[in-house]
Symmetry: none
Subunit: 247 residues, 2 copies
């Protein structure tokens, strides 16, 4: 891991709606962050904040609260501002993924504060002046303004992806070995010959089409077993005496 997520502080500066504070806490927990810092917040010890926070309520309970920004960021090695406004004095703006890849590792294990401004106006000029790096979230130029909790989510999500080598489903299913795939293809080929399908239909092309199709699907061992089971049952059914009355 290039940096330690426990060093990351999400700092909401003058957040105005308890719902957004609660939803931001939930997003943080979804992404493995836990240090919430609030500067002059709306009333977040309220049902309106706790309800959307759900299981992230300990993050609300443990939030640091400060009366002003300078006290909130005093110990941080690196202060990151999020903004959607560019401008000469704000350049360069980097993306959240650049932040995670290039900037956070440079904090070398020291505390990092990431600031999010108020819902209406974002970070003030003074707050922006306190930032070492400015981040902007790529967005539709027709409507680039993210909700506060949504912005916290997107930045937290990039951090999460940057800290964890994510693998879906801890117990990845076992992929079929090349041997069991070849056995499957041979089994299928034998059946198709038996029912006369290959003879009439350009055997080579049919078989390579089927092979490619299953190849694209990247078969699991379990799926090969099911398919082989189907083929065996078909062979068995073909061996059964016919009911002359038809089916």
């Amino acid at each position: 891991m290039a940096f330690d997520p426990s060093t990351i502080r999400i700092v909401l500066v003058h957040p105005q709606t308890p719902e957004n504070i609660g939803m931001a806490a939930r997003a943080m927990k979804n992404c493995g962050l836990s240090r919430l810092v609030l500067v002059c917040p709306a009333d977040f010890r309220s049902a309106a904040a706790y309800r959307p926070a759900m299981e992230a309520f300990p993050i609300l309970e443990g939030a640091e609260v400060h009366p002003d920004l300078l006290l909130a960021i005093g110990n941080s090695r690196l202060v990151i501002g999020t903004t959607r406004r560019g401008g000469q004095d704000r350049s360069p703006l980097i993306t959240p993924s650049d932040l995670v890849r290039e900037v956070l590792p440079r904090a070398q294990g020291k505390e990092v504060s990431i600031l999010f401004g108020a819902e209406k106006d974002g970070l003030s000029r003074d707050a922006v002046d306190r930032c070492d790096v400015l981040v902007t979230i790529p967005a539709n130029p027709d409507f680039p303004s993210f909700n506060l909790a949504q912005a916290v989510l997107l930045v937290s999500y990039e951090i999460f992806r940057g800290t964890v080598a994510w693998r879906v489903g801890a117990e990845k299913p076992a992929l079929a070995s090349s041997r069991s795939r070849e056995d499957l293809y041979r089994h299928l080929e034998a059946l198709l010959h038996r029912i006369g399908f290959l003879h009439e239909n350009h055997p080579g092309r049919i078989l390579s089409t089927v092979r490619r199709l299953f190849g694209r699907a990247i078969l699991e061992e379990r799926e090969v077993r099911i398919l082989r089971g189907i083929l065996s049952q078909l062979e068995w059914a073909l061996d059964q005496p016919r009911n002359e009355k038809g089916r």
Copy 2:
């Protein structure tokens, strides 16, 4: 661009809170998406939905509303489900970035529906069975459950980042329509019933495994024809009188 974002439909299945519907619309607009589809939604023509939607209110106004999921996805070339539950018959789960990089380009400009389940329980078993591909959002295993609008945002954001100049792949083969894929699955199901395979082997799981396997492969129309041809020939062979001397 590997795909056209105007082909992407965000389908909320039984969304229960107007705030989430409005916030999802806002997230869509932030990320350049516009086609919202609602299946049995909570009252979204209300202030509770319009307030968080902000400038995305035209997305709410233009939302398609359907009484059930099948009507909502009938014309989609590809149906994507979002889920946080794994399990044998749901594997493999891919990430949103895999979806954007590997799966969406294969829709070749045809309509794609991305389904999000209700706040409380996610997508039902039946809805999952309709999906060609299942996506899960990487998250903290201690609290992996994203708010509905947050999940819509993360998937939309990946799509936004994945959209570049749209080019039509001239020589791409025609993909199978959802109708011909459904016909294929029904044909296969009938045959498996006939040979007694489904009866003994948990019909639901077998069928959804097969569906997902073919879903991953993104079948072409020509491949469906070949597979249907094989099924028909098998039925024909099963109808033939047996040679009592054996084969």
